[in-house]
């Protein structure tokens, strides 16, 4: 093929116009039909898929929780057998922590990042597509065990020796081990995409002091994921080998170390719990200013505290292991760090309170959720601070107090901001408002239900009720608290159902929302709702943190330029900028729709099914499919057939290599 190697291009600077928009639309639109369905690389499509899939897992995990609460509503009930109870509470944790909490944030970040950053897609769109397919298939893989009656049954942290083959002979733990390694690949590639995107596809002028906090949150989480996911993937792989190939890693009779499991697991899992809240905290940091009609108080401190939380978060994992018998020195050190980590969290809390205090709050549904989150964060933070102290932890570990704490932080700092984010960005995604009146009812049901369900758990924990027991006797004083918890859980569930109802109703007859329904200040509000496939007709140049508020704030040295800028219309092009100052550095040729990510994910699935059945031919078949998909994916300088460009333009340089 005649390769046309155009090495440099002086991009035209034009004013946005309809003709250019139409041309870009043709170039960036996902193809119709099966090719588009399986091959799309559009970050908005992938983001929505992520969000919808994660909410399905949230729904399933929620139903599991309700069944558990029916079982625990009264003493001595036998709605569930102990084994069913074990599988349900394990799947509840796995669904919520791994299949909902991170993917929903990945979905929002996928959808929003390029809009916030003034770009047309993420840096590695096919990697992005791959991460979704891997997430979907690994979720289905884990849930296949459930429908075969062999769901994981050792809790989400899956301690050995109970998870070893001799105590847990079924395939339950194998499903979990392999599923987690599988899901880890998805999270890893997605994280790499986010990091590279943040490093180089920001709008010209969006230096690192002008990046929205949501981007800081997801970026910090992504870097952490890349560093800690290998720990848990390795732990699960070693367990898989112990269970299937006779290795001795966790076998104490052969000198193996069961505590090695706990170390590897929590080296991952504690940073992970920050990873599944920091982007959500970013949503609050970006959302509150819109509804308080002023910029965030302490932007720099909040951005730095985001990173400080994660940096300190790498050094707190053993506070999950205080009761395992560690040296006094280790106890003191990790207890100290676990208490110090409250400082950066508190910085964010005070920044939000100051933003509300000094702003003019508009009490929308989204504002309710963001403000409610602050209250829950404080309660969850205090109970976490308490258990960071060794003697308190010794008293409370493995009781319902810890269950209360983890639900306050995970629901409080993940679910509430996410629902707030839905109310805030739904008009951007669909062009329609969610119903505000239903939204406030939605908030109060969830808020009251949540506190009714989880606050009494502190008390049942203090009264000594251990977690993970399938029932309890009637004469130990836990009955009333458990009944209240169960009632609260159902109230909370009704609140969540109301959200789904609101979405269903508003999709059909919601009030029309324009480009900037909340009068927001960041770039996503500068483009139509829903956004066109190419996002920005001309690539914006940014001069401040709030390009749309500059006339009012007058805090920028210059003015952002949104209607005039680089057209970059030779194929799928966008601007690559320098890491710190976001100076224009390169014109990126972005890939078109491709079957390769889907095929690669299918091949990977076959490998994992092969591993589950210990079938070498199965693993080999999967590996071959994976290899071929990768080879075709990476083949340099392919002519992009079928693209509108191919007809009338010489093919430009090869697409970016991954």
């Amino acid at each position: 093929m005649a390769r046309h190697t155009q090495l440099t291009q002086t991009p035209a600077i034009v004013t946005a116009n309809a003709e250019l928009a139409e041309r870009l639309h043709k170039v960036w639109e996902t193809e119709p039909g099966i090719k588009g369905f399986l091959g799309t690389v559009d970050h908005k499509e992938i983001g929505i898929r992520y969000i919808v899939t994660s909410f399905i897992f949230l729904l399933i995990g929620g139903v599991e929780a309700l069944i558990l609460r029916v079982q625990l509503a009264q003493p001595d009930l036998h709605v569930l057998s102990p084994e069913q109870y074990n599988q349900l509470f394990t799947m509840h944790g796995v669904s919520m922590i791994f299949l909902y909490a991170m993917p929903v944030l990945t979905g929002f970040s996928n959808y929003l990042w390029p809009l916030l950053l003034g770009a047309r897609d993420t840096a590695l769109p096919r990697v992005n597509a791959l991460s979704y397919w891997l997430y979907l298939f690994s979720g289905l893989f884990i849930y296949a065990s459930f429908f075969m009656g062999h769901a994981p049954n050792d809790g989400w942290f899956n301690y050995v020796p109970y998870a070893n083959r001799q105590y847990n002979p079924g395939p339950n733990i194998d499903f979990y081990s392999l599923g987690m390694i599988f899901l880890g690949i998805s999270t890893t590639v997605s994280s790499a995409n986010f990091v590279v995107t943040a490093m180089r596809t920001r709008a010209a002028g969006m230096s690192i002091n002008r990046i929205p906090i949501l981007v800081w949150g997801t970026l910090t989480s992504s870097v952490a994921n890349l560093i800690v996911i290998p720990a848990v993937s390795l732990a699960f792989f070693l367990l898989y080998l112990d269970r299937n190939y006779g290795t001795k890693f966790f076998q104490p009779q052969s000198g193996g170390q069961p505590l090695l499991w706990q170390h590897l697991f929590w080296i991952f899992a504690h940073p992970w719990v920050y990873a599944i809240v920091l982007p959500a905290m970013g949503m609050v940091s970006d959302g509150l200013p819109i509804f308080c009609r002023r910029p965030l108080v302490g932007y720099t401190l909040v951005a730095l505290s985001t990173m400080a939380t994660m940096a300190i978060g790498f050094g707190v994992w053993t506070h999950h292991m205080f009761a395992t018998g560690m040296s006094d020195l280790a106890l003191s050190f990790f207890s100290g760090v676990s208490i110090i980590i409250a400082v950066p969290s508190a910085v964010a809390v005070f920044a939000w309170i100051a933003t509300i205090w000094t702003g003019r709050p508009v009490f929308t549904a989204a504002f309710h959720f963001f403000a409610g989150m602050i209250a829950l964060f404080v309660i969850g933070g205090v109970s976490g601070f308490m258990t960071g102290s060794v003697p308190v932890d010794w008293q409370l570990t493995d009781t319902y107090f810890v269950v209360a704490h983890l639900h306050y932080v995970l629901i409080g700092i993940n679910v509430f901001p996410v629902v707030g984010a839905i109310y805030m960005w739904f008009p951007k995604v669909t062009g329609k408002f969610l119903d505000e009146r239903l939204g406030k009812l939605n908030f109060w049901l969830m808020f009251v239900g949540f506190n009714l369900a989880f606050f009494p758990m502190h008390i049942s924990g203090l009264l000594g009720m251990p977690r993970r027991i399938y029932t309890y006797p009637h004469d130990v004083g836990w009955s009333a608290w458990n009944l209240i918890t169960s009632i609260g859980a159902f109230l909370f569930a009704i609140g969540v159902l109301l959200l789904f109802h609101n979405i269903a109703v508003s999709l059909r007859r919601g009030k029309h929302a324009g480009a900037n329904p909340w009068d927001g200040g960041t770039l996503e509000w500068a483009i139509p709702s829903p956004p066109p496939p190419y996002n920005f007709v001309v690539l914006p140049t940014v001069a401040s943190r709030h390009p749309l508020w500059e006339d009012r704030l007058d805090d920028a040295p210059g003015r952002s330029r949104l209607d005039t800028g680089l057209a970059l219309d030779k194929g799928r092009q966008m601007l690559g900028t320098s890491v710190v100052d976001a100076e224009p550095a390169v014109i990126l040729q972005m890939p078109f729709d491709s079957y390769a990510p889907f095929t690669l994910a299918v091949g990977t699935t076959i490998i994992f099914v092969g591993m589950l059945y210990r079938s070498w031919p199965g693993m080999a078949a999967g590996a071959i499919i994976t290899g071929i998909a990768l080879l075709l994916w990476l083949w340099p300088g392919r002519l992009r057939e079928g693209s509108p460009e191919a007809a009338n333009e010489p093919p430009f340089a090869e697409p970016d290599h991954v």
């Binding site: 790499a192 006779g246 290795t247 000198g255 170390h263 040295p557 680089l566 092009q573 340089a653």
Partner: protein, 205 residues
């Protein structure tokens, strides 16, 4: 750009910009660094697990004494040579010397296969499996993980060799070579660390 002053805007700079994957501007080049960081973390956790168990092991560690250097030492040198060959090839294509790139990649590819062959021979000569005892569980899992990375690297070098022979690269468009080479050097560096951990450190006692 006469309207720039009108809007008091930051000047929109639009110099001639490189298009697509030139040199280290490819997004994939940024990406592979993060792949390396995550893979390096994996090996750090493997070594952590090994050290954690070794320190608490009741009795001699390694139970059968430090492993022999007879095969491992030459094998280490072969892997380093392979990295050198790939680096020379990469250097050559930056000057547009395509034949030298192909040669460097072929040499790297072949030496990679030799490394694997020798490693397999060493594994076989042990007469043990990963189920034999805790030490061998770690030994075979760690070197096995590394071996898997070497095999992936060999496949990458193979693909790059073919693409190089097909004339896909020139002095400007060569980011796949840089990306593949970087990964290969990483695999090499990991081996040096593992070699030190498993073969050298036990001799220092």
């Amino acid at each position: 750009m006469s309207d720039v002053a009108l809007h008091r805007s930051d000047e929109i700079r639009a110099p001639a910009l490189p298009v697509g994957s030139i040199g280290n501007q490819a997004s994939g080049y940024f990406g592979v660094w993060w792949v390396i960081i995550t893979e390096a973390s994996l090996f750090i956790y493997l070594i952590f697990g090994y050290a954690y168990c070794a320190m608490q092991f009741p009795g001699k560690w390694p139970p059968s004494g430090p492993p022999e250097l007879t095969l491992a030492l030459p094998d280490t040198l072969i892997l380093i040579l392979s990295s050198v060959a790939v680096a020379l090839g990469e250097h050559a294509i930056k000057q547009g010397k395509r034949a030298r790139l192909t040669l460097g990649l072929v040499v790297g590819f072949v030496l990679g296969i030799v490394f694997v062959a020798i490693q397999l021979k060493e594994w076989a000569s042990r007469g043990t499996t990963l189920a034999s005892n805790l030490y061998y569980s770690f030994y075979f899992t760690t070197t096995g993980f590394h071996m898997a990375h070497v095999v992936v690297g060999i496949l990458i070098l193979g693909a790059l060799t073919i693409w190089s022979a097909l004339g896909k690269f020139d002095s400007v468009r060569n980011s796949p070579v840089s990306i593949g080479a970087l990964y290969w050097h990483f695999v090499d560096a990991v081996w040096i660390v593992l070699f030190t951990t498993y073969y050298i450190v036990p001799r220092l006692k």
